[in-house]
Amino acid sequence: MGRRLKLTFVKEKVSAFADLLDDDARMTCQAVWKALPIRTKAIHDIWSGPQLLMHLNPMIKLPAENLLTYIPAAGDIFYYYRPRHYFRGAPYGLAEATEIGITYDRDSRPQGPRGPKAVNLFATLSEGKVAFTKVCRNMIYEGSKGMKIERA
């Protein structure tokens, strides 16, 4: 078995496991692995449909790798880096940002305020998806939630 992540909604005590895609996204996997454990806040995306995002330390700047732009599968986990002024004229796109995103259902599309964005696909949920997805879905109604990502 390859390297795995454990993702936990802290307050809800709900965890899922994800397989790192080391063969396809070696650099991204290594950078994320090195940064673990991460305690952050997960927030529901407002541009991309059934997707969460978590802001990371912006010092983790990675180039494009194993890019995903359309039709992610439920359970896909990706890294995204946006330099300053990446989105033309968007008041929300001026700041530099580094994120991890999780797609939890069909019909998502990685997207920002000015349209689709390319993201580094580096992991996919493999265990505990049902309960984890339920918490993700509830965030639409309940708001953001504390998240811990660690080595499994």
């Binding site: 927030i43 407002i46 929300y92 069909r106 997207q111 879905r137």
Partner: protein
């Protein structure tokens, strides 16, 4: 566009903004919306459309209105308030991501407190363009009076962190 004096009040968890109806542009929608006011519910943040909160109309407040205008690129901009209707058959499968309230007929007011997705381009998505009367309807019927109160914007934003908030739309 000439505006009449009819205005509405948006009260989101105690934070207020006023809006002016587009009576000349969308007379049927304005009249229908005016008639059901006040409407109270729990506002939910959009997950596709960017800086938008929605108020689902329920029970006797549900509106089933015809398409009243042509939807085009940049149709929706910051501050706009739209009426949106989607018949239940528009949703493929169970639409689990949106829980029970999205699995049935959807009639709502959508309030764009900031930039809509793709600068409003998503409203022009051919796949979502109203193609059959009464199945999928999008009418812009009001706009928030300028300047949009910063406190109101921030309150809308808090839905992302704190979840649903009470919203009342009333005559002003």
């Amino acid at each position: 566009m000439k505006r009449t004096a009819r205005r509405i009040l948006l009260d989101l968890d105690g934070t207020r903004a006023t809006a002016t109806l587009y009576d000349e542009f969308a007379p049927k929608t304005c009249e229908a919306a005016w008639d059901i006011l006040p409407v109270t519910g729990r506002a939910i943040h959009a997950n596709w459309s960017g800086r938008e909160i929605m108020l689902h109309l329920e029970g006797e407040k549900i509106l089933r209105l015809p398409q009243e205008m042509k939807v085009r690129s940049n149709f929706v901009t910051e501050g706009d308030i739209t009426y949106f209707y989607r018949a239940s058959q528009m949703s493929r499968g169970k639409q689990l991501a949106y829980s029970a309230q999205f699995q049935r007929e959807l009639s709502e007011f959508a309030i764009f407190y900031g930039s809509p997705a793709g600068e409003g381009l998503s409203a022009y998505d051919p796949a979502r363009t109203p193609y059959k009367e009464g199945v999928h309807v999008l009418n812009k019927f009001a706009t928030i009076d300028r300047p949009i109160p910063e406190e109101f914007r921030l309150k809308c934003e808090t839905l992302r962190h704190e979840g649903l908030k009470p919203l009342t739309v009333s005559r002003y």
